[in-house]
């Protein structure tokens, strides 16, 4: 591989590093090895964003000045998004929040934040994707469908490849298990190792599995052959290196009862060797949690005050939009397309600043739009992969535009 120039794909948090890109005059002609999501991200926007104030074309400088004015005059500004920004832009964003005494939050507050927090606090053991490829013999996709959300997950790391200790790959050396409420694409690949559970019953299944691991007869209120559950417990006990890929299905189902998941993993680690990797979506969503944790000791839902940073549920994007927020800066995210209608509506009622390379649904509601160049494509930096490994991104297209980090730095300068 050494004589071929390869690039990092920023299509999702897998950050595949074997992508070949062929360009002519700065235009991408062909992308090899990237999945359909990666190809779509790498080949750019359908419509690039333009600098605008109140939907009128302006210069980038004017848009930045207007954004700085809005944030400076707001009593309770909120900085939100950050999943598609490099770590450098995120660190600049944390500095902006500090300057403004603002609330800063990311999509992780209603996504994988809860599992990442447990990993960072040392409550749940984790491992790298390379370890999964080389060593894992049991792979459990719980409430996750990587075949739809991270198409190369199974082929690149978790199931199909031959690893140092798994030379026969998926045919003989690995077992893939899916626990889900529906037969997803991933569950189809797991075949008879698919355990269908009713929505919201993950905790009950977890407790039953825990009983089965203890040698007790598990009880379930829903229809499932107990023998299958006992078979699963035996498989987990016998495994040499197991990994649980926790999806949003699991996170939304267990809510605040993360300690039950931590307890199950502790029990599994008494019997064998188990790790957990959260199925992070955006390419640097995990990076935001790590960078904010390094700066403040909290992973999300942070408010900067004169006495220092504080964190709490009331500082989540959802609670802020329901309550105090009087200006919002959205970066690298499309909340109007992803948040519930009532919250989106609230976003339209307050001054909304958007920093993004592409036009999206949020652009339509934005009072100020500042276009940036695409991170990992036109601008380098670093990002945290879904397993917490730091990956260096190199730009493969030259661009004259401003990166999101530069825009944030300019806003800080104007505010000061």
């Amino acid at each position: 591989m050494s004589d071929i120039t390869t690039w990092i794909c920023t299509g999702c948090a897998l950050l595949c590093e074997d992508i070949q890109v062929y360009t002519t005059n700065g235009q991408i002609e062909k992308v090899e090895h990237a999945c359909i999501m990666g190809k779509s991200r790498l080949t750019g926007c359908k419509h690039t964003a333009k600098p605008m104030i109140d939907h009128n074309d302006v210069t980038v400088d004017k848009a930045i000045s207007q954004a700085a004015n809005i944030l400076k005059n707001a009593h309770n500004p909120v900085l939100y998004g950050w999943g598609n920004s490099t770590s450098q832009a995120q660190i600049a964003g944390i500095e902006l929040a500090r300057v403004l005494n603002a609330v800063i939050d990311s999509t992780s507050s209603f996504c994988q934040g809860i599992t990442i927090n447990e990993i960072l606090q040392g409550q749940i053991p984790s491992c790298t994707l390379e370890e999964v490829r080389e060593k894992a013999d049991v792979i459990l996709y719980w409430g996750a469908d990587p075949m739809s959300s991270h198409p190369r997950h199974l082929s690149r790391y978790s199931y199909f490849p031959r690893g140092d200790m798994r030379q026969h790959g998926y045919e003989e050396d690995r077992k893939a298990i899916a626990i889900d409420v529906r037969q997803s694409r991933t569950a189809k690949i797991c075949k008879d190792m698919f355990y269908r559970i009713p929505p919201g019953s993950d905790l009950e299944f977890m407790k039953a599995l825990s009983d089965a691991l203890d040698g007790k007869v598990p009880k379930l209120s829903f229809d499932m052959d107990i023998k299958r559950l006992l078979e699963l417990a035996t498989l987990l006990k016998k495994c040499e290196f197991g990994v649980i890929f926790a999806g949003l299905g699991l996170v939304y189902s267990i809510k605040e009862d993360i300690h039950i998941l931590s307890g199950l993993i502790s029990k599994l680690n008494e019997l064998s060797d188990f790790s957990l990797i959260p199925m992070v979506g955006h390419f640097n969503m995990r990076g935001f949690n790590h960078n904010l944790f390094n700066e403040t000791g909290y992973i999300h839902k942070v408010k900067f005050t004169d006495k220092g940073p504080v964190s709490g549920v009331e500082y989540s994007i959802i609670e802020q939009l329901k309550g105090n927020a009087d200006a919002i800066l959205v970066i690298g995210s499309d909340p109007l397309a992803s948040l519930p209608g009532a919250l989106s509506k609230r976003m339209e009622d307050i001054p909304l600043i958007l920093i993004d390379p592409c036009e999206n649904l949020t652009t339509r509601a934005a009072d100020v739009t500042i276009p940036c160049i695409a991170s990992g494509i036109e601008e380098g930096g670093t990002a945290y992969r879904m397993d917490g490994e730091i990956i260096e991104l190199s730009p493969f297209i030259q661009s004259k535009g401003m990166s999101d980090e530069m825009i944030i730095q300019r806003i800080i300068k104007e505010i000061n």
Partner: protein
Amino acid sequence: MTSVMEIYQLLPKTNCKECNESTCMAFAVALLSGSRQYTECPPLIKDDKYHNSRIKLEEILKPIQGAEETGLIVHEELCSGCGNCVVACPVNVANDPHGSGRGFGPTNEKVIFRVIDGKVKAANIEECRRFGKNRIMCNACIDPCPTEAIEFV
């Protein structure tokens, strides 16, 4: 996947031999293998009462026309470029053990499957285990495909 019975049911079923096959069933087998065209059945073309059958045959035989010599068809509209087939194909693994076999994109030109622009493309089809005299009914690329984008006809 289209079956021979499905094709046979759309033919005149008169065993007239005008196509030089002994029976309509033999002609259906030839259509499925891609060695004959449905337009080579004179009654089907001449008689208006087979109008609907012609339309249906055109539709179900369309994918077969794009099939490789081994009968391999990639339905690009279904493919998500996940690369499961790239890593699972035993020929890819044997010819590129440190690339495809380890989960990377292929590192040489000897592989059958590679993902280009988010869709899997097949090449070197003569290397496929379904090709040649000692062919076997290998399913290694079909089995791991989550979207049923690969099939053999």
